[in-house]
Amino acid sequence: MVPAFSLNGVIVEFNNQPVLDIGELVFDDRIIHAVIGPSGAGKSTLLRVLNMLQKPTQGSVTYFGNPLPYNGANSLAARRSMSMVFQTPAMFSGNVYDNVALGLRLRDVKTKEVRAKVFQALETVGLTDLTKRSAATLSGGEAQRIALARALVVNPRVLLLDEPTANLDPGNVTIIEDVIKRIPHETGITIIIVTHNLYQAKRLSQQAVFLNKGKIVESSSTDEIFNNPKAQETKLFVSGEMVY
């Protein structure tokens, strides 16, 4: 199976300082990957590289076998085949319905289809009763669930999640995790979740990458990473003994 993403020699620099230095990394298709690591490890930068929000200073990224087009005519099509949920979701003015429908409207989907897809996405996150609510009045948990619905409504091939449950109450965390767990089975998409919550990574993912100081320390199955880590750094991190 062609991997969703394949990174080779990717380096990202800010002010001539490398913040991400990935030798080789592959994200297989149709499973959930977790990217774990301490704060400042480069997890979000990696996600931004995959979502084409950040062009690497060096190296190459392939997306389903083709080079990821950061610029040019094909970049919009590639971007439209993936979705991203940010740690703090930005809700556009208007109501919940408008926010969930936005991605479809940007793709010129017909109004009738939009309505059906929006209600389906809202049903997935359990918020069909909020359609008319102003997006500005949503609680943090509701906003994050709407952001997830907004990402799912366009049927992406890849879903990128940047700390989607950070600072949320346990109830909303459970709902969001349930949705994330269900998605690959129902839709066959690839999910990459950045999280510093080790238990969440353990609960959700099949593959895990441990990043520290911008570099890959270890990448393998989630079971291996948590139960039989190879590197000393990984052992310290998963046991909660790493000081950073």
């Binding site: 929000l53 971007r79 979705s83 930005a90 429908a101 940007l106 109004t111 309505r115």
Partner: protein
């Protein structure tokens, strides 16, 4: 106090009198200010949006120039347009000096930097939060810019209101390039100057208060429009 009281009475009398000359002056004031603000919007909103959204070498210098021009003295704007349009000026052949077009041109020079600068600030304030979200949701560059403008609409509306306020209250530039010619280029502000010089303080103050009332009504419409737009949710 007595002057103010008699002015209030004069306003009512003036408005009810149906004086054609007064309505002509009010109408020209509105036409010139609305035209200048509209042209300023067409130039300033796209330019301000680009400045708010994109970083490029030398951007800071452009920002300083915009901020400097926001405080451009109206008389200087008037002199520049006067020199351009005067018989010996590069655009003298167009014979636009002492016409409403010249007045609009001078006001465009004054209001465009205001709309550009305030739009830039409004867009910059929203850009970080909304641009990446829009792009990651599949917006093209143009769609993303439009979404950011939509989120910055309250700030952009403030820019338009400020620009219109400057245009309708402006006197130095329109006096220079318009000449305060009766039935041709006389507007509210130049009339106020004229009446003050003639010693008709009652009439001058009345005209001033009418100007203020018109400005209040137009700003009221603009603000009400924005509030309605902000509260609007698209129907499905």
């Amino acid at each position: 106090m007595e002057t103010l009281y008699s002015s209030m009475l004069s306003i009512v009398k003036l408005i009810l009198s149906g004086d054609k000359a007064l309505y002509e002056i009010i109408l020209l004031s509105l036409k010139v200010s609305i035209a200048a603000t509209t042209i300023g919007m067409l130039l300033g909103i796209p330019f301000g949006t680009l400045m708010g959204m994109y970083r490029f070498p030398g951007r800071q210098v452009v920002v300083i120039i915009i901020y400097t021009l926001m405080g451009l003295p109206p008389v200087l704007a008037g002199v520049i347009i006067y020199l351009l349009l005067s018989a010996k000026g590069p655009l003298g052949e167009l014979q636009l000096l002492f016409t409403p077009t010249a007045m609009v041109t001078a006001q465009v020079l004054l209001v465009t930097p205001i709309i550009t600068g305030l739009t830039m600030v409004a867009v910059r304030g929203k850009e970080k939060l909304y641009l990446e979200t829009a792009v990651s949701m599949g917006a093209s560059r143009l769609q993303a810019a439009w979404l950011v403008i939509r989120e910055a609409k309250a700030g952009i509306m403030a820019a338009i209101v400020t620009a219109f306020g400057r245009a309708i209250a402006e006197v130095g530039a329109v006096m220079l390039v318009g000449g305060n010619i009766e039935h041709v280029t006389r507007v509210m502000t130049t009339s106020i100057i004229l009446e003050t010089r003639k010693g008709n303080f009652d009439l001058a103050l009345s005209l001033g208060l009418v100007l203020l009332a018109i400005s209040f009504m137009i700003n009221g419409f603009l603000v009400a429009g924005v509030l309605k737009y902000l509260q609007r949710g698209e129907q499905y």
